[in-house]
């Protein structure tokens, strides 16, 4: 009982103490700003027709976008922003074959303003295809790449503006803020272990026993592990950072050391597993170990979520009549 009260208090207090302006600025805003910077850099490289620099900057954009995506909670603050991430990234969100559509657009001479009419044509996935399979010295390819990178930068700026406009809603309610943040972590961990690792290593329900590296998120650019690392680093920013009072600090203040240590331990294990991996390792034993570690991380978040509900303390005597 005492343990549950401690953890319950921890989660409520987390919002009160850790989800404050320093946390919001240091994680949510800082990551979005960094992603806007990466999108700007890639736009500059494309403008200069420097494909190598553009490819290098793409890796940075992947890293920084994943950080924004991992703690994306703007849709919970204002539902107008629920779909914004899908305008930037269609991984597991869209079944259409954008590669053949982009090929057709490149080969045609239609006005690009109209040709690239779909959101999916202007996503990070489309940019990867263009940068890593086409030649951006070709004026039409370059123009397409620029439209995409500017679109991504524009949506990231929209996200930043949205956070500034709606941050009060996040900061004013402890209960709401902790729920939203925990949901974001849980959702992100599920997608990480099931889609980004499980589908590749053949451990997801959909692809059980059928490992295939081609299902990796950024198979063309080899940035899949880069994305996974960025996601895990963002979890570290939320639960185990040295720069501001975070979730772990609050947990310790309330003596819930064991609970937070379990989550951090699973996170560290995941980070350690991913550390020396490259994309081609995903369908190997290393990928299996990473899948298991992230599964445990997800479970530890769900346990935290259950504790937040304080099951024992909210129902009257379980005896009969």
């Amino acid at each position: 009982m005492k343990k549950i009260i401690v953890v319950l208090t921890l989660f409520v207090s987390f919002a009160a103490s850790a989800v404050n302006q320093a946390f919001f600025d240091g994680v949510i805003i800082a990551n979005t700003n960094q992603a806007i910077g990466s999108a700007t850099n890639i736009t500059n490289s494309i403008t200069k027709s420097d494909q190598q620099a553009a490819k290098a900057n793409f890796a940075n954009l992947v890293r920084d976008w994943k950080k924004v995506e991992t703690t994306y909670l703007l849709g919970d603050l204002n539902e107008d922003y629920l779909d914004t991430p899908r305008y930037v990234d269609i991984f597991h969100g869209n079944n259409e074959d954008i590669k053949s559509q982009l090929d057709l657009i490149i080969e045609s001479d239609d006005d690009l303003t109209y040709a690239l009419y779909k959101h999916s044509h202007k996503t990070i996935n489309a940019l990867e295809y263009v940068l890593f399979t086409k030649d951006i010295t070709n004026p039409r390819v370059k123009a397409i790449a620029l439209i995409i990178s500017k679109s991504i930068a524009s949506y990231l700026t929209e996200i930043l503006d949205g956070y500034h406009t709606h941050q009060a809603k996040f900061l004013k309610s402890e209960q709401f803020a902790s729920a939203v943040l925990l949901n974001t972590l849980v959702a992100g961990t599920y997608k990480l272990k099931e889609w980004r690792i499980g589908d590749v290593v053949g451990l997801s329900k959909k692809y059980k026993g059928k490992a295939d590296n081609r299902r990796a998120e950024y198979v063309l650019s080899g940035n899949s592990i880069n994305a996974i690392k960025a996601i895990l680093q963002t979890h570290q920013q939320v639960i185990n950072s040295k720069n501001y009072k975070d979730f772990g600090d609050i947990a310790r203040e309330y003596k819930a050391n064991a609970e937070i240590d379990t989550a951090i331990s699973h996170l560290n294990k995941s980070i350690s597993n991913a550390k020396d991996m490259v994309d081609s390792d995903l369908d190997s034993a290393k990928g299996v170990a990473l899948f298991n570690a992230t599964s445990q991380l997800m479970t530890s978040y769900y346990i935290a979520l259950m504790d937040r509900l304080g099951f024992v303390s909210k129902v009257l005597d379980a005896d009969g009549d």
Binding site: A179, V186, A187, Y302, I303, F311, V315, L316, D321
Partner: protein
Amino acid sequence: MEINPLEYLLNPNKRIFWIFLLSSLLIALTYLWLNPREKRINFSKKLWLHPSAILDYGYFVFMAFFKVLVIFPILFGAKEVALWVNAALLGEYGYTRLEGFSYAQIMFIFTLSLFIVSDFTRYWLHRFLHTMPMLWEFHKVHHSAKVLNPLTFYRVHPVESLLFGLRYSLSIGLVSGVFIFFFGAMIDIYDILGVNILAFMFSLIGSNLRHSHIRLGFGEKFEKFLISPYQHQIHHSKHHTDTNFGGFLAIWDWIFGTLTLSKGVGRLKLGINSDDMKNFGNFQNLVFFPFFAIYQSFKKHFF
């Protein structure tokens, strides 16, 4: 783990939390003011110091210890069930989030669902305790009370206590697991002092009078929806033990044909049949006689 029977008075999750006792007392005093003829029995020493009542007091202290030391450690919790349900749904349907509901709406639906499902399972377990011969042997412990007082609520055999604990874990865990699957951490309940607001409100309106001799009914119309204290006392009478199984809500009794309204029910003879009553006259028998009775019945049927 802390063991302190007095904690029952201070813990809002307990039936005899002091606020619930106080509200019941106020309702009882008002009732007696309006029905002065019933003062005699309710204030009588014979009632409060009846051997059956004294047995209730002692048994309550025993069960407070026994639950903490024996029952709780072997029970799996609602949290484990919720984790399992959520994991099973995740495995079957993948990550799912229902959008379009506000936090307040989700809280309202979750609070209501927990209350209704909990009350529904409580009805059925209580009914099974009466209709299944083996379970009835354990539930006789509760019905062997010759007089009623708020502590009679705790005159429950450990096996029954275990079953109600399991019922709680399964029903609350199931509802929570489903809601967590659809809404993640965006769920919580409306509560008062940490208790489901609906359970708290219904407990305020005389829950401790269910086990008392205050014959408070709610009227014909209301008693189809809410179990009144008198309806529960009727359930404790020898001739009506097969009716009024409901906890807070009477709708389950109404729907499933086990409802008896207060109107028209005369004098109550509490307890079970005389032959059985003598088997539950002391502390040891409350604990061990049900096992003996089941053994005897088993021997009679199979040997």
